[in-house]
Structure formats: structure tokens, C-alpha cells
């Protein structure tokens, strides 16, 4: 799909770049679903940073402290693996849904669509629907136009600013952010990112709109690779619609040798990317189904059957059976299931403890007054659990190894890291090699399931056997 005839592509490209698109407001089944989707997704975005979880922000990607809190879980830079798997799962989920239902993501769930919907809704409340917006833009500047445009942009900027503020609230505690923004006491980078994200929202949802989908979205370019003949697409029934032409409501189209399409061009007017769905499937189509809603309402008025433009599949169009269980879908579904279960298992059985060992690099080893060989280490112990723990360190690998440490019982609060300096001493006669592998184990004394052993090296003089 999505390989339009060249002449058409050139035409629509120039349309997209030169002319501003004023999508007409649309009402109907799919418009309602999109509104519900928009409300839920925006609700999630704006509310989540305000949720609390045991006296801290429930979802906080705490960049300044290099910790990600997601409800009861805390992730550290060392947990990058989980993040990578999550991204792959997200990609496969997108492939899976695209193969089944086409550009469902684009039409209903993409942030670009969601914020553009809200921005267009504001514009329609202030400026009126499509004809009024076109008239207003053609009008010379006067007091009325200035007033209307200022109102619209003020509302847009307010929403954009709150969006930018919320965005930064995911990375730095939002309640403190709100308090400090009232006192104008934010750090320079907090100001910068709030303003940067606000302008990006204002620009993308207010001005760029469909150009983001056409020029910037990588998914829009390769989504056709996931399509097959059973993928849900939005399609105009050419056989039924053509030849198109205007007629009176009570006229019998067959007497005028006309199809069902009355050529009212409403499907073009409502299209957020400014294409004509009657020319066939085009890569600009984000499958928002605005044309379905508006065409159905026209068909109702004319007393014709609905579905001149509808969700369908290539196989249905050709009168073939559609099959949901095709290899492509099964492979995507199986990969998704395996990865989700794997990630769930890995996170559920993750040991909430991390130990990083660094050897003192200034000296290979010391010889103590009593003639023992001594190595110095620094252990960084990170308690990744949601509650505090007491830990004990043990060393093994060389006979009669002595450990010198400030305190035997190490207490670390939830989500904190502590550096523990540590010295190990052995008798040179117990060393067989210049470099011996030893094991340092950290175990939680209040929960012995939490234990990690890390290898380290003990250096000494050449063997003295």
C-alpha cells in the first residue's frame, strides 16, 4: 500500500507544504472514540506526576539523582537493560497493532494527534469552524482579527506552558516544582526545559500538525511494511461511489447515471492531512476516520446506505475471507508474549541490590607491619529496594583472609547508595599467584534472599613457595 501514483504524490506534497489545512469539525462514532481516547491519554499525562507512593512521587524519572521511580520499583542506570527491553516491546506492540488494524496508533493515540485535537478544538471555540477560520485568515488585520488571534494564542500558550511544566514534573518532583515556579525560583535548566517543551508543543500542535506526520515521523514512512491484505484500512468504495456527482436529494442516482458519491467534498474538508481519500490509500492518511464519520452523516441525509467510506481490508474488498491468524500476526504476538513474560519475570525476581567494586589504583598492594599483604577496595552498595536493609560483607577465595572494615553492620536506606572502604589482608604464603580471584559477597541480614557476590582480584608479590 501507500505507494500512490506519482502525479498524486507531487500534488499532495505541495498541498501539504504550501497551504494551511483547516480541518472541519466532525461528529460521529469514531470522532467520539477519539475524544474519549484524547481525554484518557491527556488525563494520564497530566495526573500521573501528582500521584504519591509511600511519601514520594509515584512516577519520577529523577535525572538529577540518577534514579527512576515507577510506583514500587526503583531503577538505576545499571538497570538500562530493562529499559531497552521495554522499548523493543513497545516497538513490537506497534508492529502487532499495525498489522491487525493499520494506523490505529496515528489516528487515536499518538501524542501528535492528541495535542493537535485539543489545539484544533480550542481554535474552533475561538475562531469558529473551517469556513470562519479561512475567512479570518484572509481578512486584513484589524482590531477584531487581532483580538481573536491573541485570544487563541494565549489559550494555546497556556495549555502548552502547563504541558511543559508537567513534562519537567516527570523529571524533578512536581510539588516542589510548582511551589518554586510560584516564587520564580527555578534553576536555569528547569526554566529552559519548561519553555523548550512548551514551545515545542505550541509549534507542533498549533502549526506543524500534519507536517510532523508527513515529514518527521519515521513510523509513517515504514508502517506500510507491516501491512498485508488483511490489515484494516480506510477505503472509499469506488465501485459504489463512482461516477460521482451532485444531485437533488429526491433524485434517483441511477437515472442520472451516478454512483453514491454526491461529491460534497466534506471528506476532504475534514481530513487533517488534507488528502482526498477517494483517490485511494495514501501515505499521508493517518487513519483518523474523520472521513468515515462525515460521509456516513451525508449518506444518512441522502437516505443511502452508510459505508461509502469505511474500515475494510484489501481482501474484503476483493470478496475474499479475512484471516486474523496469519503467520505475521502469530510471530508478532508470540514475540510480544515471550518478551513481556520475560521482562515481568526478570523484574519480579530481580535482586534489589547492586555492588560495584573498585580496587585502590594507587598501589597494587601494601605490606603491613606484621608482614601481611594488604589490598584496598571500595565497595559501592546500592539498595534498590523500597525499604531499608542491613548488610554484611564477606570475602572468600584465599585461605585465612582477614577483612578490615569500619563497621560490620551496614545500614542503607531505601534507594540509597553507600561507599564502603575495605581492606583485605592475607599471609603471603597463602598466595599462589600474583593475582588471585576472590569473591566479595554482600548479604542483607534481615532478608537472606538479597545476596550478591561479585568477583574481584587480590594482587600480591610473585608466589613465594
Amino acid at each position: 500500500m501507500a505507494t500512490p501514483k506519482n502525479s498524486k504524490m507531487d500534488k499532495s506534497d505541495s498541498l501539504a507544504s504550501d497551504e494551511r489545512i483547516y480541518p472541519r469539525a466532525v461528529h460521529g462514532l469514531f470522532a467520539m472514540w477519539r475524544s474519549i481516547g484524547v481525554l484518557i491519554l491527556l488525563g494520564i499525562y497530566y495526573i500521573i506526576p501528582w500521584l504519591e507512593w509511600s511519601e514520594r512521587q509515584a512516577v519520577l524519572f529523577d535525572l538529577p539523582n540518577r534514579k527512576f521511580h515507577i510506583f514500587g520499583l526503583t531503577f538505576w542506570p545499571q538497570d538500562f537493560f530493562y529499559f531497552a527491553v521495554l522499548l523493543i516491546i513497545a516497538a513490537f506492540a506497534l508492529f502487532f497493532f499495525t498489522a491487525i488494524a493499520g494506523r490505529l496508533w496515528c489516528g487515536y493515540a499518538c501524542p501528535q494527534t492528541v495535542w493537535t485535537e485539543v489545539f484544533m478544538w480550542i481554535a474552533r471555540k475561538v475562531e469558529g469552524d473551517r469556513p470562519k477560520q479561512i475567512k479570518l485568515d484572509k481578512m486584513p488585520w484589524n482590531a477584531y482579527k487581532i483580538r481573536i488571534k491573541t485570544t487563541k494564542h494565549l489559550l494555546w500558550l497556556l495549555l502548552a506552558a502547563y504541558t511543559g511544566f508537567t513534562f519537567v514534573g516527570y523529571f524533578t518532583p512536581i510539588d516542589q516544582l510548582a511551589a518554586r515556579i510560584m516564587d520564580l525560583a527555578l534553576g536555569p535548566w528547569e526554566w529552559f526545559w519548561i519553555i523548550f517543551y512548551s514551545f515545542a508543543t505550541w509549534g507542533n500542535a498549533g502549526f506543524m500538525r500534519e507536517k510532523v506526520c508527513i515529514y518527521m515521523c519515521p513510523y509513517a514512512r515504514f508502517q506500510s511494511a507491516m501491512f498485508d491484505n488483511d490489515t484494516l484500512i480506510i477505503s472509499y468504495d469506488e465501485g459504489r461511489g463512482e461516477p460521482r456527482g451532485s444531485r437533488k436529494r429526491n433524485e434517483d442516482p441511477s437515472s442520472k447515471n451516478l454512483g453514491s458519491c454526491i461529491d460534497c467534498t466534506l471528506c476532504v474538508q475534514v481530513c487533517p492531512t488534507g488528502i482526498d481519500i477517494r483517490e485511494g490509500l495514501q501515505y499521508q492518511c493517518i487513519a483518523c476516520s474523520a472521513c468515515i464519520d462525515v460521509c456516513d452523516s451525508v449518506m444518512d441525509k441522502m437516505g443511502y446506505d452508510r459505508g461509502l467510506i469505511k474500515y475494510t481490508t484489501e481482501n474484503t474488498r476483493q470478496g475474499k475471507q479475512i484471516s486474523l491468524f496469519r503467520p505475521r500476526i502469530l510471530v508478532y504476538a508470540a514475540s510480544l508474549a515471550i518478551m513481556i513474560i520475560g521482562l515481568g519475570y526478570a523484574i519480579a525476581t530481580r535482586i534489589p541490590l547492586e555492588v560495584d567494586i573498585t580496587r585502590d589504583r594507587t598501589r597494587l598492594f601494601n605490606e603491613t607491619d606484621t608482614g601481611l599483604i594488604e589490598n584496598t577496595y571500595s565497595l559501592q552498595i546500592i539498595n534498590k529496594d523500597g525499604k531499608q536493609h542491613n548488610y554484611q560483607i564477606t570475602a572468600s577465595g584465599i585461605n585465612n583472609m582477614k577483612m578490615i572494615i569500619k563497621s560490620d553492620n551496614i545500614n542503607i536506606a531505601a534507594g540509597e547508595a553507600v561507599d564502603i572502604p575495605l581492606r583485605l589482608q592475607v599471609d603471603a604464603y597463602d598466595l599462589k599467584k600474583r593475582s588471585t580471584e576472590i569473591m566479595l559477597s554482600v548479604i542483607s541480614t534481615d532478608n537472606t534472599d538479597i545476596e550478591i557476590s561479585e568477583p574481584a582480584r587480590f594482587l600480591g608479590p610473585a608466589g613465594r613457595r
Partner: protein
């Protein structure tokens, strides 16, 4: 490449946007591996906050990737203009 046929919007976006995406990825990978506080502690930038270091790091990466994208466009010009 008949680049002249592309709309200006697409030309601009095709340089800045891929650069933005790869710079974002590079920033995430780089700062996951290296803590800016540790990197900068022995330098005169030791007072930079982590948020500042991430931000500056991102824009430096973006500058780098943008130059790379722009150079690609430049070298795609035909060598023998008529």
C-alpha cells in the same frame, strides 16, 4: 538528487529531526554509562549540576549530529553542475 523539488519544510526537517533523534539516543546511552558528576569532578566544570550537564551534553550531541546530517546533504549535491 533533485533536492530543489522538496518543500523547504521537508529540507529543514530532514536535517534537524534525524539529528535530534540520534542526539537524544546518544545522550541517553552516554549518560547511562557515565555519571557527569564523576566525569567533571576534576575539571573546572565541577559545579555544573547533573541536569545542566545532561542538557549541555544533549545540545553538543545535537550540534554534532546536525553537522553530520548537513554535510551529508552538502556532499549529495551533484559534482558537475550544468
Amino acid at each position: 538528487m533533485a533536492d530543489d523539488t522538496l518543500p523547504t519544510c521537508q529540507k529543514t526537517v530532514s536535517v534537524l529531526w534525524p539529528a535530534f533523534l540520534t542526539a537524544g539516543l546518544a545522550t541517553i546511552l552516554f549518560f547511562t554509562a557515565f555519571d557527569p558528576d564523576v566525569l567533571l569532578q576534576e575539571t573546572r566544570f565541577a559545579d555544573t549540576s547533573r541536569l545542566g550537564a545532561y542538557s549541555i551534553g544533549f545540545f553538543l550531541f545535537w550540534l554534532l549530529t546536525t553537522s553530520s546530517c548537513a554535510l551529508t546533504c552538502f556532499f549529495r549535491k551533484p559534482c558537475n553542475p550544468k
